[in-house]
């Protein structure tokens, strides 16, 4: 017969229990937190307006409004899809350029891990989105899926260029005012000089001045 000292064994068992319990609590809390964190990760991109427009156009139910709402014309749907593709192209370019930088910054510890998680998720979402656009395009017109992103790319590049031009154009008024002011001042200076020296013809000076001032303005407007 063994005499088991149950009292004495209580301590080691309690130790094991406490240890196991502590580890288990830690792991559950840690995991739950991680899941909550990744669920709450802010999306990389904002709401996709173009996609939403396209989808709502696509699912515009004729039954809803009865006979009143006509079928959405195909052209409108295609335009909406193209717009959606343009937005996708912009996002795609952004992801492509940011990937390497984000990776190297993460390695150096200059940005955080959750940024990388968000980035990876955005990348995955982007893939899904592209696939979806291609199938949608093929559904609207045969084989359109292969070229839709080419046209979208052109459109995106064009829009960018036009924006830039508009920005430059927007400065014309201010520039014009400045040059006019400058011209007035130079003219006044000339007049003063002429009056002082009382030599040469006033007209010539003005013409020369006008030519000098005009040329950069033309350049700016181009």
């Amino acid at each position: 017969m063994f005499d088991i000292d149950w009292k004495g064994l209580a301590l080691p068992f309690a130790y094991l229990l406490v240890l196991g319990g502590a580890l288990m609590t830690f792991s559950t809390i840690y995991r739950r937190r991680k899941i909550a964190e990744s669920a709450n990760l802010a999306p990389w991109f904002g709401p996709h307006l173009q996609r939403d427009i396209y989808l709502s156009l696509l699912h515009l139910d004729p039954e809803d409004g009865g006979e009143k709402s006509p079928k959405v014309p195909d052209g409108v749907l295609r335009a909406a899809l193209l717009r959606r593709a343009v937005e996708d192209i912009e996002r795609l370019i952004h992801i492509k350029t940011a990937k390497q930088a984000c990776g190297s910054l993460l390695q150096r510890g200059s940005v955080g891990d959750d940024l990388w998680q968000r980035f990876l998720r955005a990348e995955k979402e982007m893939e899904e989105e592209l696939r979806d656009v291609v199938t949608e395009a093929n559904a609207l017109a045969p084989n359109w899926g292969t070229i839709i992103f080419q046209s979208a790319h052109e459109i995106a590049a064009n829009t960018k260029l036009r924006q830039r031009l508009d920005e430059i154009q927007a400065q014309t008024d201010a520039e014009k005012a400045w040059w006019d002011k400058k011209r007035g001042q130079i003219q006044a200076d000339f007049m003063k000089e002429l009056e002082e020296s009382e030599k040469g013809s006033t007209k010539d000076g003005n013409e020369d001045d006008a030519v000098v001032v005009d040329s950069p303005k033309k350049g700016g407007k181009k």
């Binding site: 990389w44 510890g109 200059s110």
Partner: protein, 700 residues
């Protein structure tokens, strides 16, 4: 002494030593690190002397002081004090505790004789003693508390001692083990006091262990781990760095960077609670009011204004408004807002470093240059589009506008200072402008600013004449610090433009010790201590931190607008910039940056940027061409330059034979290499001064 068990330190004679050593190992390095602060660069760097005080100089000063207090390592100091206290206690214990010296068994002592006794003398002495102490002869003395046993023992000891000196076997035992009986038992002591294993203390000990291992250790490891995850490498909160990354785009300009910086999480600590929005409308109306020389008082563009107005009101919007108020030096007439304004400016600069790292990772030159510029503007509190002249004391928008006239391009400080004094004075001094004293103050500060004027920039490979593909190229930038408006600038000494390689037998230089070879006035190489001269602390009366200026040099590919060689930082120089009394020394300073040459031979034209991070308009941009020669061509050229062809039996000759070139071959007709432009120098130095390219043009 008879058991070989571990014994605890009952008398407490060893554990103080143990604790003293362990505490000392931790406390001494900590103490060193605590007091090393006094040799900080910021404390040692000279100051630009000026009595100028801004209107809110006291606010800026108090913020600087608060920052210094924060940097003081209070926790470390407490730890050090505790450590020293513990060490002192241990020393006290050591001094007080009586030491028990284990007795060494010495037969001479037992017999009570000198070691010089001969064997005969010992024998006779022993005989006398044995007669005297034999247990049969003596009786135990009750007054001395003696027993028969003790008497016996004493006699045995005497006999042993005698035998140890006379008997051969016993003597051998004595010599070998230090005792006539042979090997003695030994004990191992643990330098821990007895009371920790004493009965009844066990539970406390377990508690202590649990506390240390179960709570303190995980806490320390955890706090360290999460601390490193919380802060980015640039010392900003990770969350802020992430937000900055999200706001990066290729076309971002300086205003955009300022807007991006306002996303920092650090600001939330400054604008807590009801401070988050208070006074926002006031700031916004002030900064959007019409300015002296710009459409808005704070100098932002309409685009930046729209960006501000697009934000939801809250901390971020207030931060951005405050930042613009800081940059535009807009008066806010409210002590709390004014303080927040300066604090926000200082934090934004810190965040900008993180942005710079992000921009560097992307490698587009636009945002990189933008972040460097934003740094300058944040330190000097000058709006991106306003005049660099605002860096000088007393000069405000109005004075700057008067000085510049209605030119579209701003005057830099150098251009202004290079004008004749009379002209400057006429422009700046007048009614509503500067008084004569203020003008003098501005000029005196201007003459102390360290403007780095590049004299020459070239590429070289240490010890080689040409640059071969994938070699380690050194970009050497030679220049002098010439404050704006300095008169009588001495001409450049041609000798100082050369870069001398360390002699091959100079181990110090090869091992990278802090010595540098410079040509002395007599043309002989002189070794000087490298990188010891500090530039004066930045003159930035609005910036709420002390800042040492740094210079950055980087190469960009101007065709692709991409970074080619990432920036190298220079904050210490090999030669002093100013003399003790603040006069420029005009020493030629060398900035060196090493990088790997491109893998293909050819001519590479880079745009070299030398940027000072603290002053606006002190940047230098120039074209430099890196000529990479084909490796075989380079070997050819080397052969041409050889004064005498190596003999067949010499090591050099064998080396050359291995390379596949016949020795003693007639020298080929010399081909003129336009790219390798050898320095004119004395013959023996021609080998040392090897640079390949000098066609650099100063653009600025």
């Amino acid at each position: 002494m008879s058991s070989s068990d571990y014994s605890y330190d009952e008398q407490g004679q060893f554990f103080p030593f143990f604790i003293l050593t362990v505490t000392g190992l931790v406390t001494l390095p900590l103490t060193y690190s605590l007091f090393r602060r006094s040799t900080d660069d910021d404390a040692l760097a000279p100051r630009i002397s000026s009595d100028y005080k801004t209107k809110h100089g006291d606010v800026v000063a108090s913020l600087r002081k608060a920052q210094k207090r924060k940097q003081r390592k209070i926790k470390r100091a407490i730890f050090v004090v505790l450590g020293w206290a513990l060490m002192a206690g241990m020393v006290y214990l050591i001094v007080v505790t009586q030491r028990i010296v284990p007795k060494i068994w010495n037969p001479y002592d037992i017999l009570g004789i000198a070691e010089s006794f001969t064997e005969k003398q010992i024998k006779s002495h022993y005989k006398r003693l044995s007669v005297k102490f034999h247990p049969d002869k003596v009786r135990p003395d009750p007054s001395k508390n003696e027993t028969l046993e003790m008497l016996n023992d004493r006699y045995v000891e005497l006999t042993k001692a005698y035998q140890a000196l006379t008997d051969e076997d016993v003597r051998n035992n004595y010599i070998q083990y230090g005792h006539p009986d042979g090997k003695q038992s030994f004990s191992i002591g643990i330098a821990l006091p007895q009371f920790i294993i004493a009965e009844g203390n066990g539970k406390y000990l377990i508690l202590l262990y649990t506390g240390l291992m179960g709570i303190l250790l995980p806490y320390l490891v955890g706090s360290w781990w999460y601390g490193t995850k919380r802060m980015s490498k640039e010392g900003v909160l990770m969350e802020s760095a992430n937000r900055l990354f999200r706001h990066y785009n290729e076309e971002i300009d300086e205003g955009g960077i300022i807007t991006a910086l306002s996303t920092g999480k650090e600001f939330e600590a400054v604008l807590k609670g009801d401070q988050a929005e208070s006074g926002l409308s006031k700031i916004e109306s002030r900064i959007s009011a019409e300015g002296e020389s710009s459409p808005f008082a704070c100098g932002f563009s309409t685009k930046d204004k729209e960006k501000l107005e697009d934000l939801d009101s809250g901390v971020r919007r207030k931060v951005l408004a405050l930042l613009w108020a800081y940059l535009g030096r807009v008066e806010l007439d409210d002590p709390a807002l004014t303080k927040a304004k300066f604090e926000v400016g200082a934090i934004a600069r810190k965040l900008n470093q993180s942005f710079a790292a992000i921009a560097l990772a992307f490698g587009n030159i636009g945002p990189i240059a933008g972040s460097f510029k934003a740094n300058q503007h944040l330190i000097q509190a000058v709006s991106p589009k306003s005049s660099p002249l605002l860096q000088l004391p007393h000069i405000n928008d109005k004075v700057a506008a008067a000085i510049e006239g209605d030119s579209k391009i701003h005057l830099t400080v150098q251009q202004f200072m290079d004008r004749p004094d009379a002209e400057r004075r006429q422009l700046a001094v007048g009614k509503d402008l500067l008084t004569a004293e203020q003008y003098k103050e501005a000029i005196s500060v201007g003459k102390q600013l360290p403007f780095f004027r590049v004299a020459k920039a070239f590429f070289k490979v240490t010890g080689e004449k040409v640059i071969i593909p994938s070699s380690l190229v050194t970009l050497v930038i030679k220049g002098r610090f010439i404050p704006p408006g300095t008169e009588n600038i001495p001409a450049i000494d041609e000798v100082s433009l050369e870069d001398i390689d360390a002699a091959e037998d100079d181990m110090d230089a090869i091992l990278g010790r802090k010595k540098k070879i410079v040509k002395g006035p007599d043309g002989k190489p002189v070794a000087v201590e490298e990188n010891s001269a500090l530039p004066p602390l930045t003159f930035a009366p609005h910036y709420a931190r002390d800042h040492s200026p740094k210079w950055y040099a980087f190469l960009s590919d101007s065709k692709q607008d991409k970074m080619a060689v990432p920036p190298f930082t220079f904050d210490k120089f090999d030669q002093p910039i100013f003399t003790e009394d603040g006069k420029p020394t005009f020493n030629m300073v060398a900035l060196k940056a090493q990088f790997a040459a491109p893998p293909q031979p050819g001519h590479y034209t880079f745009c070299m940027h030398v940027i000072c991070d603290s002053y606006v308009g002190f940047d230098t941009k120039m074209e430099v061409t890196l000529v990479v020669e084909d490796a075989s061509k380079a070997a050819e050229m080397e052969a041409e330059d050889e004064i005498s062809e190596p003999e067949e039996d010499s090591i050099a000759g064998q080396m050359q034979a291995l390379k596949g070139q016949p020795t003693g071959e007639a020298p080929k007709p010399k081909r003129k290499q336009d790219s390798s432009d050898e320095e004119s120098g004395t013959d023996e130095e021609e080998d040392d001064a090897s640079d390949t390219n000098t066609d650099t043009e100063d653009e600025s």
